[in-house]
Point group: C2
Chain length 646, copies 2
């Protein structure tokens, strides 16, 4: 998140866990998704994306293909490419992106309008269905792509185009008389406008974002008026969330709980947090905190997944976290990372980084196959393949990742997040520099007007040791704030080999000193296996434990443990009972955990379904746990995160 108003000017990830993932992104993900956008993937649902732009520009004949928000896939791909070019220059890819941008811009209308759905289908109908037709959503993603591409390459073609687009939007929509008093049915433009504002410094971009955040949900309700005026349908009329599906059931300032479509919720919260930070609006920040608190303390899976129900891809109610019917869309976990990062920009509290880390290492990257070529939309915590086939309530849960989706929001979202992951690691705030996440690489910043480079070596998340080296031409005073993750109970810190005492404040260990070139900081985070329990208000997890180590949540998979994972138990196990082993050849390299547990047997039932006499016998057996994110990379089978223990 370069441009968070933070004085960082260069973070790099050059080694370790994320480096491998990002290598997959540039080597496989970006080229693969470019093929998808051009309908060149065999046996995958066609995207129609690039073709739509050609048709809209009058270069090809045909009908619009895909969803109303189809353009956004191109925008997200471009954004991802932009980020990748920052750390992985690639002239050929840049030329490809320049071409894609030209195709996008070629379709732009003289008045600045961009959206191939209406350009092809009829411009007279544009802006008649802000509720469902995603024009502002597409605009938002286009703005994000433009800002990213401009920052990465200095090229203004797309940036200039979106500036014209925003001018057009501002003429049509806004609080002034004669304009539509509308706002997007699917947020994203709020945070996009804030990124644009960070580049342009133009107050009108901040004001428009603020308008979109604050207008929604106010009475008389714009969506209701729009439906009446234009005869639009209202699909969620009989749903429990109604307009709150669109984050418009209540004015934002009155929202108290994470409700409605989970991705829309997350994206709106992001925009609100950005507006709050840039405008210093403390009341708005307080609402963001309230929604954060409800999300992470009542409605978030242990993997960082959010959105309990497939119906509406939505939040449901407090403590309702079913593992097998969960939605947990990859995009929603990504949205939670975005939200966490923005709350962290608003205030440096380790709890935000904890959740960011939880989602990143678990519910986000579970969305991608290790080879970067297949994706999960839904990220379940318990899977029985038979149930996915035979139980209609679990049909949305897939036991294997898919090649592509008709609604392909998740794959490019993964790319743009992973490609920009270095923006999530550090913050600088005056003479405070923060390390939120530990990844091998470096960051440059200014402290007391002096340039400093901090380099990081670590085998995180597999090991808890982090070595940080300061490079500076002259000694410089600043506070190095190292996050002590919420999961870590014991840690030690040293400077140049000497143990130091330092205070942990809001999750950060503050090392305030006059740093000299070559100073070495050693942080040793004790990383035992942890047996995590859910609050017993969570019905789905009672009596169970989630095995975790460091930021990684583990799971049982059929490939290692056989079938009927519900019959496996881990009673009375402690951290010390686990064997922790680095398995370089397994699943791309993982730390595997094994432990003696027990397997229940139904032998005593003698084929009966119920019995008051039959004892549920159990016999010791070895349980093998793999990182949750790495599941479903072998044969199709059962998986389970929450293991029975009491």
């Amino acid at each position: 998140m370069a441009g968070c108003g933070e004085t960082l000017y260069g973070a790099r990830i050059s080694r370790g866990f994320w480096s491998a993932f990002r290598e997959t992104v540039v080597r496989e993900g970006i080229p693969y998704q470019w093929k998808a956008l051009n309908d060149e993937l065999p046996d995958a649902e066609p995207s129609h994306c690039m073709r739509n732009f050609r048709i809209a520009a009058g270069k090809e004949q045909g009908e619009f293909g895909g969803f109303v928000f189809q353009d956004s896939d191109v925008a997200k791909w471009l954004e991802g490419v932009a980020y990748s070019l920052r750390w992985h220059p690639d002239k050929q890819l840049e030329a490809l992106a320049d071409g894609a941008i030209q195709a996008v811009v070629d379709a732009q209308q003289p008045d600045g309008y961009m959206d191939t759905y209406y350009i092809i289908g009829g411009l007279d109908k544009r802006w008649t269905n802000l509720k469902d037709h995603h024009e502002l959503y597409v605009a938002g993603h286009m703005i994000e792509a433009a800002v990213a591409y401009y920052r990465a390459t200095g090229k203004r073609v797309l940036l200039d185009a979106v500036l014209r687009l925003v001018d057009h939007i501002s003429k049509v929509i806004g609080p002034e008389d004669g304009k539509l008093h509308g706002y997007p049915g699917h947020p994203v433009i709020e945070m996009a406008l804030m990124r644009l504002y960070e580049v342009t410094g133009d107050e009108k971009h901040l004001r428009l974002a603020e308008y979109f955040v604050r207008e929604r949900g106010r009475l008389p309700l714009y969506f209701e008026q729009e439906d009446q005026k234009n005869g639009n349908g209202f699909y969620w009329k009989d749903s429990p969330f109604r307009y709150q599906y669109y984050q418009a059931g209540l004015p934002f300032m009155e929202q108290k709980a994470a409700e409605g479509h989970a991705v829309r919720a997350m994206y709106l919260y992001c925009g609100a947090a950005d507006v709050a930070r840039h405008s210093g609006d403390e009341a708005l920040a307080a609402v963001c905190r309230r929604l954060w608190e409800n999300t992470v303390a009542k409605r978030m899976y242990v993997t960082g997944a959010v959105g309990s129900s497939e119906y509406g891809e939505a939040f449901t109610f407090d403590y309702d976290l079913p593992n097998d019917t969960v939605y947990g869309e990859t995009c929603a976990a990504i949205g939670l990372v975005f939200f966490a990062r923005r709350m962290l920009a608003l205030e440096k509290k380790g709890e935000y980084a904890d959740v960011m880390e939880r989602a990143l290492y678990n519910g986000v990257i579970s969305g991608m196959q290790l080879d970067g070529k297949k994706f999960f939309y839904v990220n379940p915590l318990e899977v029985l393949p038979e149930a996915c086939r035979m139980d209609a309530h679990k049909r949305h849960v897939k036991p294997e990742r898919q090649k592509w989706f008709g609604c392909a929001c998740c794959p490019p979202n993964l790319i743009r997040l992973l490609a920009s992951l270095e923006d999530y690691l550090y913050s600088a705030d005056g003479d405070d520099v923060y390390v939120h996440l530990y990844a091998g690489g470096s960051v440059r910043f200014e402290a007391n007007w002096k340039p400093v480079r901090l380099s990081v070596r670590t085998n995180y998340p597999w090991e808890g040791d982090v070595a940080l080296a300061v490079e500076t031409e002259r000694p410089v005073a600043f506070t190095l704030n190292l996050r002590v993750p919420g999961w870590c109970r014991n840690y030690a810190v040293s400077v140049n080999g000497e143990p130091v005492e330092a205070e942990v404040r809001d999750g950060y260990l503050a090392l305030n000193r006059r740093w000299e070139d070559g100073d070495e900081v050693g942080l040793a985070l004790d990383m035992p296996v942890r047996l995590v329990r859910a609050n017993p208000r969570v019905r789905a997890d009672v009596g169970c434990v989630a095995v975790s180590r460091g930021p990684i949540v583990y799971c049982l998979e059929e490939s290692d443990n056989g079938r009927d994972l519900q019959m496996l138990r881990l009673d009375g196990a402690t951290s010390a009972d686990f064997n922790v082993e680095w398995r370089p050849d397994k699943l791309g390299g993982i730390v595997e955990l094994t432990c003696q547990g027990a397997r229940e047997s139904d032998e005593a039932f003698d084929g009966a379904l119920y019995s008051a006499e039959a004892e549920v016998r159990q016999a010791p057996c070895d349980l093998t746990f793999i990182p949750y994110y790495s599941w479903a990379n072998r044969e199709v089978g059962e998986m389970r995160v929450w293991v029975r223990e009491r």
Copy 2:
């Protein structure tokens, strides 16, 4: 089931548990449902039933109202009335029923056809959609009503009408050239024709039933041909069950597991068992046994509910028995009772009576409010009212019984079963008489050509003592077979106060002697509280126990135990730890069970959702269990059958 080929000629229920239920049926249920059929219930969905008959007879103008199978509600009501008249003569009700029959018959067509949907909507379209349009289903229920009414009153009006209807059907449908080689999409006519056969002795009724059982599922598939020919839609095309929804995915003889729509499955199995018994077809009986075995050993809830999924109201797969998304339609549990009764007629094995009893005392009568005026369609084993509102996958689960339903199959099905319950208690087979279920009342039968009357006194199911008295003019030798329920581990039997030793064979204790008038048999079934566990292959029930006593399954309800029932535990409890108390004033009179258990607390979590440190503390608390069938008769709240214990 008078007319099972069994030499019983009169069973009565005159006291005790069922007597009270049946009193509700005649006092409340029958009049209430008559109002429903005549659209006279305030605030309830209209039935349109009687109006449809008037319109079809040309006595009123208007459109057909309701579902294509709407006529069947009248048939089921008439059948229930017929049974009630056997033990509760009521001239006024009989006159009402005579009038309803006349209305039905007035709408019959000259060629024998009966079905107001097509009579009103256009006879040219009849028999074009056997798959979905329920003409044969309606005919089946009409036949059952006719046979029941004829047997109860000797009146032939409806019987003669359905004989004409069956003749008409036989001209249109059947294996012969020139006829439609079809069969019903919703079975019931198979068992109805067998009842008709028991009255008429006419082989063609047996043959038609047998044809319907054996033709379905054969290739080329009639439904597929019918769809093509008539342009009918196929709603279940993309479902996992496809034609098996209709019990037509496989020929009956090849079926191996309970699949598809649960009520259709049960009804078909009933017809098949009847045909097998009357035709002595051992291969057919073997298939019935195989499907029985799969149903009760792999796919039945502890309450006797069947049908795990709302989608298709259907069976899913072995051991898939979710408690909170269950369908468990009242009609399906009733269907299981029908099936069990027929298997019992086929062979006297206690396991059939065990299941019949399980369903009757639990999953069947849970469908009716204690006042007989509200009904459950779906019978869940775990309910959180908030989830019914907020989770789309649980919207079919209601926390309160409803007044009536657009598709009102369940309420009249309950009436016809409860009103004929005496038919389920006894069998006679040569000189063997069987008591399957214990209820205060009597039965008359012939043994060695001598009339015998057996009277039963018991406070079953609340107490396990049963007293049976023989009345006979002359001493007579026969075997009195008394069922020892599967749940009973200890029992004692005496004759005239003297303990006797007797063998238990296939679940029945056989007392073979020369009986004299006034002989008294005492059966003492030990009825401790039982802690029933599910086979651990049942994911939904692992680590839990279902508290039971005698045939009654118990549950926890919020009214007695507060909220968050998932936090209640019953570790290490034994039968002896329960207090068993008769509560005459509670829920219509129940035996209530209380026990010290524990309530978990989330205190140590201090508001956190997940923790590796927080201990899930627990404190002792009293748990109060009420019979499952009596839940949801107080305020709306949580309910849970399976209680955590390990």
